[in-house]
Amino acid sequence: MKAFHTFCVVLLVFGSVSEAKFDDFEDEEDIVEYDDNDFAEFEDVMEDSVTESPQRVIITEDDEDETTVELEGQDENQEGDFEDADTQEGDTESEPYDDEEFEGYEDKPDTSSSKNKDPITIVDVPAHLQNSWESYYLEILMVTGLLAYIMNYIIGKNKNSRLAQAWFNTHRELLESNFTLVVVLPLGDDGTNKEATSTGKLNQENEHIYNLWCSGRVCCEGMLIQLRFLKRQDLLNVLARMMRPVSDQVQIKVTMNDEDMDTYVFAVGTRKALVRLQKEMQDLSEFCSDKPKSGAKYGLPDSLAILSEMGEVTDGMMDTKMVHFLTHYADKIESVHFSDQFSGPKIMQEEGQPLKLPDTKRTLLFTFNVPGSGNTYPKDMEALLPLMNMVIYSIDKAKKFRLNREGKQKADKNRARVEENFLKLTHVQRQEAAQSRREEKKRAEKERIMNEEDPEKQRRLEEAALRREQKKLEKKQMKMKQIKVKAM
């Protein structure tokens, strides 16, 4: 029993080892070639002899202690090989392979031999099969970018807020001494001021635009101040500004009372700003058609130019104090625009032309650049205080300045001319609009008649409509006759 057990164990072990060895081979031919006997290394030379044939290793048990290994089938195979060798042609005996047997396998002997000579190359595992954090470097980059954006948002927002507060603290006294109401915007939902008294904070329209409304002063209806800071909270904008420096701006719009300002259009500012305004603004393009002129005649620096409706206005506006303001703060002034015909920028409507002239208001507009070209600090806001003084002075000046008789006539003529041009341009459209209105009226009346259930009433309404039409025709005919008579 003991021997039998030993035999089984040995058989199992040998079987598993040989199987493991044979696992590496893909086809029978390789298994045939592989042999772990002593003659394996001489296989290539002694191909046509004994080792080519498959050898079956049988373990037999003769007695308890020893086992013998017999090589079976060897003689038979040898004979078979010799027979094969005899049938082959003489010149093939020296060749290791029969050509006909191995068609298409010409390269194989070569590659198998060359394979043994090449060193083993270790290929990197592709990134998508790795499972380490390093392979997610793009994701980490994205998240870092987002965090940077959020940080910049917080920092930019805080800076804009501090600048706005600094501006307000500097200007508060001046504003409160000139206006009864200094209030933040926007108003409450019902359109009323939630707080009618002055408040200490500026309203935010955006993270970079702050509004303030001042009212309750002689001469003007009110003053809207808009602090248009740079978009410091947007990282893209910050990067764009690195290419092209831009300044923060303060825009002030004073709406004058109708009786407190005469009829003129006038602008002074940097040449670039004036050219842009002339293109964009309705009133400047209509009333100041000439190119911006140099203000050197009045003592202004070369950087500033003047756009004016007539020379008298320029002479009247450019008094000593105004020239002093403009000269001393020329670097901070972008544009100053006084107009009684202000209606905002030109509106491009789909039908080509608006049917009526836009509403105009007497307005004084100021655009100032905050010093620093983007790198602004809260203390820079103090430099804008003299400009606010200029605004107050301009309000009073606009009230005092009156055109003489000639100037007034010229101004009236200009306004009439503009209106006539406008009417001519829109004549066709207005006619069409009137025609469509008339047709609409007729249609409505017909419908009313049709809908009338009472036949008597219907008849009466129809008669009334007929009579009206006849009257109209008669009137037209009368008019034509009169025109003919006049022509004669």
Binding site: M142, N178, L181, G191, E205, W213, G344, I347
Partner: protein, 104 residues
């Protein structure tokens, strides 16, 4: 017209309420950036289900739209844009957890 002091320009009886300009001219003057970024964010979110980098760009677009938005802007729209872009990123990673390959 009674004035307290000739040098005091204030007139309490002339206080006027602020009337915002009519909304017709506002769209032309308003910055269109937040609206464009919102739209781009939504488009990239849709494409993000196929391409991972699109989903990340959508997240960036919604952040930029938020940073440029006006205070009167609807917060619900902002939040929905955020949620859409974040869900696009999450969905694309659930579907395919492997790291992103650069689009170039």
């Amino acid at each position: 017209m009674s004035t307290n002091n000739m040098s005091d320009p204030r007139r309490p009886n002339k206080v006027l309420r602020y009337k915002p300009p009519p909304s017709e001219c506002n769209p032309a003057l308003d910055d269109p950036t937040p609206d464009y970024m919102n739209l781009l964010g939504m488009i990239f979110s849709m494409c993000g289900l196929m391409l991972k980098w699109c989903a990340w760009v959508a997240v960036y677009c919604s952040f930029i739209s938020f940073a440029n938005s006006r205070s009167s802007e609807d917060t619900k729209q902002m939040m929905s844009s955020f949620m859409l872009s974040i869900s696009a990123v999450v969905m694309s990673y659930l579907q395919n957890p492997q790291p992103m390959t650069p689009p170039w």
